[in-house]
């Protein structure tokens, strides 16, 4: 028995195989995932425009889900590289909701903080923070906060772009807010208490 | 205890070619389903005389399941469509008689759909369990019940049959 790290415990991984993993992911995915129907044909991995940067192809990830490799799956960068282009989804011969499974895996990884690179989760979180504060996205705030944190050395590189966007009037300097922020907050705080269980 | 102890009794009519074979398949494949349904084999769902349903309901069944071949797959070419029309009309009649139309359910199951047959059966049992026992005949509705029981078949249906069957043939 390998030693239990804190992380493993947090991930709920208390044995080598976690055969409920597939079911858990399936249940937590919006719509009917068809995840259990995967025939490992590789249409998804073949279709993916970003597969070259993934540590596992989506197909591989589904095999790992079946094998109950919770930690490895949640650590994978694959869901974070997914660009949601839905090529795999429409081509999948088994109608697996691949892109939605990727969202589920991201959510699960965030919950147990099992991701190898924090760039993507932080970007998502920053975006969500903006939306939860203003009800709208705020590109300037988002981009500056994100780039300062994750790509400080890239800033000079994208400065011309940002500058251009500003002078062309394509970036708001102040965020826009919705009127019924209170209502939205109430909805979201109720929603956060809910989870898909069946 | 939230456990519901009501065990409904359900009569299922199956056609010889598809749905009875689906039930056979469910058996051969050892699929488990709710034991509340007792089946009657007919050659075709088109054989289903609505009177049979009323008879079953009046004799103690809490629900009736009618099963047949999928539309377009009837062994007798198109008789299951007639079953479908009768079923829709029957629901109307039941409503008129004060019986929940949901107590009768039509299910298409091909000979290959043992799993569907099992799942639909179990689901129907649960639906009927929710509806509770059929109280028909146990209160003031008793008169109607006797009518059906005593007549050689159903007065109610017979009165309506001519118009009823004309729609079936359409």
């Amino acid at each position: 028995m390998p030693q239990m790290t804190d992380e493993r415990v947090r991930a709920g991984l208390n044995r080598e195989e976690d055969l409920s993993l597939l079911n858990e992911v399936s249940v937590k995915t919006a719509g009917v995932s068809h995840l259990e129907m995967c025939i490992q044909c590789g249409t998804c991995g073949g279709s993916c425009p970003a597969a070259m940067d993934m540590d596992h192809t989506p197909r591989m990830l589904f095999a790992m889900l079946r094998a109950g490799m919770r930690e490895e799956v949640l650590r994978s960068n694959t869901p974070w590289i997914c660009v949601s282009c839905y090529h795999c989804v429409v081509r999948c011969p088994q109608e697996v909701h691949i892109a939605d499974v990727m969202y589920t895996l991201k959510g699960m990884a965030i919950k147990v903080k099992l991701y190898s690179d924090s760039t993507a989760p932080h970007f998502s979180q920053t975006f969500v923070d903006m939306v939860e504060t203003y009800g709208r996205s705020f590109e300037l705030g988002l981009a500056s906060r994100h780039y300062l944190k994750h790509f400080p050395l890239r800033l000079p590189g994208i400065m011309p772009m940002g500058f251009g966007m500003l002078t062309k009037g394509r970036i708001d300097v102040a965020p826009r807010r919705i009127k019924q922020m209170k209502q939205l907050k109430a909805i979201l705080s109720r929603a956060k208490k809910l989870e898909l269980t069946s | 205890m939230t456990h519901n102890t009501f065990e409904p009794t359900i009569i299922g009519f199956t056609c010889n070619w598809c749905s009875y074979r689906a039930a056979d398949l469910a058996g051969t494949a050892r699929m488990k389903y709710a034991p509340n349904v007792r089946l009657i084999r007919m050659m075709c769902s088109g054989r289903l005389d609505p009177t049979f349903v009323l008879r079953a309901l009046s004799e103690g069944a809490d629900g009736v399941m009618i099963t047949g071949c999928h539309p377009g797959e009837c062994h007798y070419i198109e008789q299951n469509y007639k079953a479908l029309r009768r079923y829709l009309l029957l629901k109307r009649v039941l409503k008129g008689m004060g019986i929940e139309p949901e107590r009768v359910k039509l299910v298409w199951a091909s000979a290959a759909e043992g799993a569907k047959f099992a799942a639909e059966t179990t689901a129907f049992v649960e639906e009927i369990r929710k509806l509770g026992p059929l109280s028909w005949g146990k209160d003031e509705g008793g008169g109607m019940k006797d009518e059906i029981k005593n007549g050689d078949s159903s007065l109610t249906i017979h009165a309506e049959r001519s118009s009823f069957e004309k729609e079936v043939a359409a």
Binding site: S47, P93 | Y20, P35, D49, E59, S110, A169
Partner: protein
């Protein structure tokens, strides 16, 4: 109540007895159903064994039983067995009823008490019903010894030859101008690589010249009436515009015809034919047909080159479609398949990218008698590919298209790999999901192709594109795929892509099924009577199926099915008459009110109205026994044997345990 009922509860080893307390059921029946006439109830290990049957026979004789209920398996399995046992003991076989307590009870429930209670109810239902059963006689009808075979592919040809050789007459109907089917388009056949034409054409000629076979090509069945042993079939013989009596098949008309047309059928769109044509040189029969849509004379009113040059004066522009009426006893449907239209898989690029070919196109390309004389070249007609990708499972095993496996595509893909390798020396890639090489000598062929150096990539191809990402890909077709064994996405540039397209039911298979009164699966393949034990019979007596019409299959299986179907037909012919289940409806003319409600209900036209008597009549020979009219009759004038109102109502009551001295 005077009936004497015997109840026999089967253990079926532990199949039933493991869940149902069979002894309890038997005792209960003897005790509680006594009032309904049960005088004996027994349980036994295997009722269907000869000892079990003897037990029943003995009781019938010794106890004078008049009704039998066997609580055992499904009637579809052993109803016949126990009917014969009853018959042996002198009891009418239709006075036996099976109560299915295996498929409907012991195999689907786990709780012993609940299962036993349900078994009792099922037995109770059967006992109540059997009392209402009536002694029936089988209906015997004579069998017409002629046979109709629809479809002149290899399965139909095989079936026709078997029956004809046995000395009986066959009408072989084919929609196209020649028999031969898809097999006549192929170059080589897997796994032995015999030349398709070499093994097929002798059979075609044999069928074409056999004294017991009447070929009806360029013809279609339009109407079918009747029933087993006595079908009446109408066939439309389309106008050929060529007099078959006079034509010698010399081919001069084709030579002289000025109109060139792309041959979408035989040449799969890769080659040309004339407006008057035989699809290929070895066509049987070798009389040409005229394609009215493309013939210059029919379009413009002038030309008639064919007529001018015909040495025997066989061209007949006035010929008309002809309706032929035939009486046959049995029918074999061997109508084959359509190739999946690969244009539907947009990501594979067929129809958009010129050098993507379908399997049938490749067959013509590699066929020595094909449009390129067997040269495997690109769409430009001259360049030889240096690299070729063969994609398996195109349109098959895919919920977006066809859900099933098309069976032949793996072997076909391997055959293509071999042919490309042999004829061009190109690098060949095969892209597959699973390699399915079941059956004799098939996997050995896979080994051979591996040995030849074909490169295999396990992965369903995601897309074929001409959008190059780098110099290496420029001007090529790029196959993008996950190599699932290497877990890497690969982009493989090739010159030519061949799609191993799947098979699908004929466009009109559902209509044909309806015409002959047989059903199709949801996919559209004809449904066999039993998927394992009766693969060539159908639910309709006297209608048999063979070849790909029943489901995707390769040549050996099609031939085997053709032969099997013919054996079944011969069996019927040699019996000279056939016994039909006596499940029939009949009208009591005294009670019939003449309302005609039932008249429109029968799809078999068994119901007719007698104007003189103002009553309805049912023809028992046409009635199939579905009972729809029985249920419909407002006057209760129609009764149906085997499933009468009395029987069904008794069974309802019985199942609901009415009139029982319940504890």
């Amino acid at each position: 109540m005077t009936e004497r009922v015997g109840v026999y509860v089967c253990h079926c080893g532990s199949n039933i007895a493991g869940v149902v307390d069979v002894v309890d059921v038997a005792n209960w029946a003897a005790e509680k159903l006594g009032r309904r006439g049960v005088i004996i109830a027994r349980d036994y290990k295997f009722m269907c064994s000869s000892l079990g049957q003897e037990l029943i026979e003995k009781d019938i004789k010794e106890l004078g039983l008049t009704r039998i209920v066997v609580a055992a398996c499904s009637p579809h399995l052993h109803e016949k067995t126990f009917r014969i046992a009853a018959k042996n003991a002198g009891l009418n076989p239709y006075l036996v009823e099976l109560a299915s307590i295996r498929e409907q009870v012991s195999w689907v429930h786990t709780d012993k008490a609940v299962a036993t209670a349900k078994a009792k109810a099922v037995v109770s239902g059967a006992v109540s019903r059997v009392i209402e059963n009536q002694a029936l006689e089988e209906i015997k009808v004579p069998i017409n010894p002629n046979t109709l075979i629809v479809g002149g592919g290899i399965a139909g040809i095989q079936a026709a030859l078997e029956i004809a050789n046995a000395g009986f007459h066959v009408y072989l109907v084919e929609r196209e101008p020649s028999i031969g089917g898809h097999m006549s388009q192929f170059d080589k056949t897997f796994p032995t690589l015999d030349c398709s034409a070499c093994i097929l054409t002798p059979r075609m000629v044999e069928a074409g010249t056999h004294p017991n076979i009447t070929l009806l090509t360029w013809s279609e069945v339009t109407k079918v009436t009747g029933y087993v042993g006595n079908f009446n079939v109408t066939i439309k013989k389309k106008a050929r515009f060529v007099n078959e009596e006079l034509c010698t098949g010399c081919g001069i008309c084709q030579e002289k015809c000025p109109k060139k047309v792309i041959d979408e059928v035989y040449e799969a769109g890769l080659g040309y034919r004339k407006a008057v044509y035989t699809p290929f040189a070895q066509a049987v029969p070798n009389f040409p047909v005229m394609d009215k849509e493309n013939c210059t004379y029919f379009i413009k009113g002038t030309c008639k080159a064919c007529e001018k040059f015909c040495p025997t004066g066989a061209i007949d522009f006035k010929q008309e479609d002809q309706l032929i009426n035939l009486d046959v006893g049995n029918v074999i449907l061997a109508t084959g398949y359509d190739l999946f239209d690969a244009r539907r898989v947009r990501n594979d690029g067929y129809g958009r990218l010129p050098n993507v070919f379908t399997s049938l196109e490749f067959e013509r390309l590699s066929n020595a008698a094909g449009p390129t004389n067997g040269n495997i070249v690109l769409r430009d007609g001259k360049s030889t590919p240096k690299s070729v990708g063969i994609i398996h499972c195109v349109g098959s095993r895919d919920r977006n298209f066809n859900n099933y496996c098309s069976v032949i595509c793996c072997m076909q893909g391997l055959k293509f790999a071999h042919l490309v390798h042999e004829r061009t020396g190109a690098t060949v890639y095969n892209f597959y999901i699973d390699m399915r090489t079941a059956y004799k000598a098939y996997d050995e062929f896979y080994q051979r192709v591996l040995e030849e150096g074909t490169l295999f990539v396990r992965g369903k191809v995601a897309e074929v594109t001409d959008a190059a990402r780098n110099e290496r890909e420029k001007g090529k077709l790029i196959i993008q795929v996950e190599d699932t064994l290497a877990s890497k996405q690969r982009r493989i540039p090739v010159d030519m892509v061949i799609l191993s397209s799947g098979l699908q039911p004929r466009r009109d298979s559902k209509d044909v099924g309806k015409l002959f009164g047989i059903s199709c699966s949801t996919d559209g393949w004809f449904t066999e009577k039993h998927p394992k034990l009766d693969p060539v019979a159908t639910m309709t007596e006297g209608i048999f199926i063979a070849g790909c019409a029943q489901g995707p299959k390769d040549i050996p299986s099609s031939v085997a099915q053709g032969a099997a179907a013919s054996a079944r037909v011969l069996d019927k012919i040699l019996q000279k008459e056939v016994a039909l289940e006596p499940v029939r409806a009949s009208v009591d003319k005294a009670t019939c009110s003449g309302c005609r409600i039932c008249n429109g209900l029968c799809p078999f036209n068994a119901i007719s109205f007698i104007e003189d008597d103002q009553v309805t009549e049912i023809n028992p020979a046409l009635c199939q026994g579905c009972g729809t009219c029985v249920a419909a009759c407002p006057a209760g004038a129609i009764s149906g044997t085997g499933f009468s109102n009395e029987q069904i109502i008794a069974q309802i009551d019985g199942l609901l345990m009415k009139n029982l001295e319940m504890v």
